[in-house]
């Protein structure tokens, strides 16, 4: 197995320039055309691919942890008349369906992460569109708190995907138009079908941007606005020094990826992987100051980042793995001690960032299109934060063996600190029809054995030691044999009971609509618009509606 290196560092960014000056961070997109993530397509007009987006994800993560004094982030470009042309079309053309899906998912998670950063970390984000922002370029802008567009008679914001490529703006653009910016649906309909988009005054009038400035005053106006943002920033617990997070690099051992606290072991033959998270060993920070001192080596931060990397490897590299068995190992008390620190010092900025980080990683798990079964066995530590893994799983199996007792345990972290994409805790989502059951479970802070866990409905099955091996084996084999497409759709439909949020709408529509369109001949068939983009032939559509 050849894992992808998702680590990036500002000193070696190819496509972005990040500078931090006091409370203002300036992020400049300068995509190097001849440095695509894989060969075969030049990144013209500040278009992006996975490599560009990994750097963006790194930027946001670094701003959270390394630069707590930042109060305003401006995203702009220095290319004349171009902000960003969105995802590179030739890259999409030459990508497999699974890659396209996972690329879109990743870029969406990055943008949602940017929004969470603004909301939770008290940083106002501003897109300074010094030129045209089309497709994913405008989707990046619309993920910022405010959008300033240069008014030069030619620069526009646009979603040309539907008229030009017969696909959708796949990075949350459509949803954010109507749900976030509250653009009237008929206005949005017009906007999304005019390939060239709207310029200056029209973009402002329709609410697609928040301000337009003439070319000669653009820089000054944006600067002025940034100063205003900084001056008006509410008092925040976030302040330096920050912490620099080390790169996350697994060692590869055949079909196994090993991280300090996480192991991902793949069985290619059965298409089953085992993802194990281990409890902290040794002393962990007791408060914010100690966490700051430990930085990325603290278990709470380290295990989350390692789990995150393993999930990305699963998505991008291990596309034949259909079922992931979630396991934990170690001392539950050590996990609960970390949870206690996270709850007790939640006001400390780094403690808060750490909790937010764990939340994001667990949401990445929620949104991973694989079957997850939690196996709760002797030696495991499904407690507090790590219990969320079991609650996130599609099913859980807990061994009921009086000779080798196994326990679960809840903590304050299970009470809404690590929300799912729709904002509910996994417990509340689980007990949507019986909210008191979540309260009942949370009231129990002692270790919970298999029988009690079954009674509290915290696990799916609790086979005894006689049935265990066979039950688990059959369940695994049965699952691994079913259609991966149907399973992905079924799981995604069952996981998010309850209300919708912008985030669930974005991922739901990405999964359902965009991915459906991606497999339809009108976009990706031999005569489809995406296939033929940039080629001499025109697309031929099958005009039957489904």
């Amino acid at each position: 197995m050849e894992p992808i290196d998702f680590n990036r560092h500002p000193s070696s960014y190819l496509h972005w320039k990040l500078s931090v000056d006091g409370a203002i961070a300036r992020l400049v997109m300068e995509v190097q055309e001849e440095k695509p993530w894989r060969p075969g397509y030049p990144l013209k007009l500040n278009s992006y691919d996975l490599g560009v987006d990994m750097e963006l994800a790194d930027v946001v993560q670094r701003l959270r942890f390394e630069h707590p004094d930042v109060r305003a982030l401006v995203v702009t470009s220095t290319r004349d008349k171009i902000f960003c042309a969105g995802a590179n079309i030739y890259m999409l053309q030459s990508s497999s369906h699974p890659f396209k899906v996972n690329f879109c998912k990743y870029t969406n998670e990055t943008r949602i992460g940017l929004e969470e950063f603004a909301r939770e970390s008290g940083v106002r984000t501003l897109a300074a569109l010094n030129g045209t922002a089309s497709g994913g370029g405008y989707e990046l802008a619309i993920a910022c708190d405010e959008i300033h567009l240069i008014d030069d008679g030619s620069s526009a914001v646009s979603f040309p995907e539907t008229p030009l490529l017969a696909v959708l703006p796949g990075t949350g653009g459509l949803t954010r138009l109507v749900d976030k910016r509250k653009i009237r649906r008929d206005v949005a309909d017009v906007f999304c079908t005019v390939a060239e988009g709207f310029r200056g005054a029209k973009a402002l009038k329709t609410g697609l941007v928040d301000a337009v400035h003439s070319r000669s005053r653009f820089e000054a106006k944006v600067q002025e606005r940034l100063q205003q943002i900084v001056a008006a920033a509410p008092k925040s617990a976030r302040h330096g020094p920050g912490v620099v997070l080390p790169p996350v690099r697994p060692t590869v051992d055949g079909d196994t990826l090993r991280y300090e606290h996480v192991t991902l072991e793949v069985s290619p033959k059965t298409r089953v992987a085992t993802l194990t998270v281990r409890a902290p060993k040794g002393p962990q920070p007791k408060d914010g100051a100690e966490l700051l001192a430990a930085g990325g080596n603290a278990w709470a931060i380290a295990f989350a980042r390692q789990l995150d990397d393993a999930l990305l490897q699963l998505r991008f590299v291990l596309d034949t793995v259909g079922l992931v068995l979630l396991k934990t190992e170690g001392d539950a008390a050590a996990v609960l001690a970390v949870d206690e620190m996270l709850a007790k010092h939640a006001d400390h900025w780094l403690v808060k960032e750490t909790t937010l980080l764990i939340g994001r990683v667990l949401r990445r798990l929620d949104l991973t299109g694989r079957s997850f079964f939690a196996l709760i066995e002797p030696g495991s530590c499904f407690a507090g934060t790590l219990l969320e893994l079991a609650l996130a799983a599609d099913r859980s199996y807990m061994l009921n063996d009086p000779q080798r007792p196994v326990h679960l345990q809840l903590s304050a972290m299970n009470a809404g600190k690590l929300p799912m994409p729709h904002g509910l805790s996994r417990l509340d989502c689980r007990f949507l029809g019986a909210p008191q059951k979540a309260k009942e479970a949370l009231a129990v802070r002692e270790p919970i054995d298999a029988e009690q866990a079954e009674e509290l409905a915290l696990v799916t099955f609790a086979p005894d030691e006689i049935d265990w091996d066979d039950e688990v084996r059959v369940a695994i084999e049965e699952r691994a044999a079913m259609s991966p497409d149907a399973l992905t759709g079924m799981e995604a439909s069952l996981r998010f009971a309850g209300p919708e949020s912008m985030e669930t709408k974005i991922f739901g529509r990405l999964s359902a609509w965009q991915n459906w369109i991606f497999t339809r001949p009108n976009s990706t068939g031999d005569e489809g618009a995406l296939s033929l983009y940039g080629r001499p032939e025109r697309p031929v559509f099958d005009y039957r509606r489904t």
Partner: protein
């Protein structure tokens, strides 16, 4: 032709009287146009009589009428070439079908973009040239400048007619925008780069009309092939007018070269500048500047737009009917591109390389003009020659914009380019020199020292005719 209505507020041959909605729209636009003309049109002689030709019909014989006219009173109108009875689309994916007389919905946006981009160049050049009359080298040159200006104004009318007649509210908004953008304005620049460059001396003016207007000729010629018939007919008539502009540039530069050659011949070894002339090196640099900016106007060497426009039968090739094959499918064109720091030949599907195909025709035409100028040098037995730089040199659009090339087309480093910039392109000092010799010559039959008089005037009038009544 009987159909031309010469006497209504807006002269036309499109039956404007029968289309009240369109007539009202254009009449509403007219005052804004005149206001723009007064503000951005020629900065002198607006109230003087200028001997201008005015289009009065679209017949090959006798379409133009010459007379004295004050420019703001010029009869700007709307003239389309005759409609051919049952014209069929003759290229692209719609080949063989009847031409479009209305805008097909699916092509509305790209067609509007084509028209707006072309339209934007018309007022732009008028703005670029607005102060040139002050330093005109002769009354005939001044008159030619004004003729070019009023006709660019008319071309704007032609394009605005299309926008108003076929593109509804969007079209009207675009027509208004055409009067709001300004050449070289940092806030509201014209759309294309060449049309934002300053053109403040007559050498540049000649080079502009020679090279940049010549791009216009090739664009108009490929749009004259359009399956959208009103556009084709509009462009066909515009080409008739444009021919004069090109000749102003081509002969203008030829007259300067001739004068320079005379000065060189009479004063061997002497610096032409010390004799008050324009040295060949400076002429070469001005050529290098305008030729390369004009090459940019053709668009990218490898272009999905070019394929789209052709496939949709909206923009053909130059003289499409003379070609053997009209789908441009299953053919390739070799385009040199930079890959891994080296020039390599790349096979590009022909439809995606049509900008380059059009550029080929243009380059050939420019080479012909350069040979004509060099003939002036040859005639006097001079060894020096003018040349066109490589089409890769000094580019701001397309495949070659990201790298630096020398005038012969070799890949060089940015540092090498900068080191030679003053050798290859007009410097501040060159421009200052040109400005210094641009002294007005406004007497009847007189000519500036740095150029030579043309062999003949216009409309069979002699050179010493009072083409502009300045008195």
């Amino acid at each position: 032709m009987a159909d031309v209505d010469r006497f209504s507020r807006i002269p036309n041959n499109v039956h404007l009287n029968d289309d009240k909605r369109l007539q009202r729209a254009l009449e509403a636009w007219q005052p804004a146009y005149l206001e723009w003309w007064k503000e951005m049109g020629p900065a002198m002689a607006q109230e003087k009589d200028v001997y201008l030709r005015t289009a009065t019909s679209v017949d090959a014989d006798g379409w133009a009428h010459f007379d004295y006219v004050k420019m703001p009173e010029y009869r700007w109108g709307i003239f389309l070439a005759e409609q051919a009875g049952d014209r069929k689309i003759h290229f692209g994916d719609n080949i063989g079908q009847p031409v479009f007389n209305e805008v097909p919905g699916e092509y509305r946006n790209i067609l509007r973009r084509i028209i707006v981009t072309q339209a934007d160049t018309e007022p732009a050049s008028v703005e670029q040239q607005r102060r040139l009359a002050f330093t005109a080298p002769s009354l005939l040159d001044m008159r030619n400048l004004f003729q070019v200006n009023v006709e660019e104004g008319r071309h704007l009318w032609a394009m605005v007619y299309l926008l108003h007649a076929f593109f509804g509210k969007d079209g009207r908004e675009e027509a208004d925008e055409l009067l709001r953008r300004r050449s070289g304005d940092p806030d509201k620049p014209r759309i294309l780069g060449a049309f934002n460059q300053p053109c403040n001396d007559w050498i540049s003016f000649y080079a502009f009309t020679m090279f940049t207007d010549r791009d216009g000729k090739y664009q108009l010629a490929s749009l004259a092939e359009s399956g959208f018939d009103p556009l084709a007919r509009t462009c066909r008539f515009m080409l008739t007018e444009e021919a004069h502009h090109l000749s102003v540039g081509e002969t203008g530069l030829m007259r300067v070269v001739r004068r320079t050659a005379e000065l060189m011949k009479a004063n061997p070894g002497k610096d032409v500048r010390s004799l008050g002339g324009v040295d060949l090196a400076t002429i070469q640099r001005v050529i290098n500047f305008w030729y390369t900016y004009s090459l940019d106007l053709f668009g990218g060497e490898i272009s999905s737009n070019s394929a789209d426009f052709f496939a949709a039968s909206l923009k053909g090739r130059y003289q499409e009917e003379r070609r053997d094959e009209h789908t441009a499918m299953n053919q390739v064109k070799i385009v040199p591109v930079v890959e891994n720091g080296r020039l390599t030949n790349k096979e590009v599907p022909l439809r995606n390389a049509l900008n380059e195909v059009l550029r080929d025709d243009y380059v050939e035409d420019c080479e012909r003009a350069v040979r004509r100028w060099n003939h002036e040098l040859e005639k006097l037995g001079l060894e020096e020659r003018l040349v066109l730089p490589s089409r890769r040199f000094h580019r701001h659009q397309g495949e070659y914009a990201r790298n630096c090339f020398d005038p012969t087309g070799n890949l060089i480093t940015p540092a090498e380019f900068e080191a030679n910039r003053a050798k290859w392109l007009p410097s501040e000092a060159d421009m200052a020199y040109l400005r210094s010799i641009m002294q007005p010559v406004h007497g009847i039959g007189q000519i500036a020292h740095w150029t030579s008089a043309p062999a003949r005037g216009v409309d069979s009038k002699p050179f010493d005719f009072e083409y502009v009544r300045l008195g």
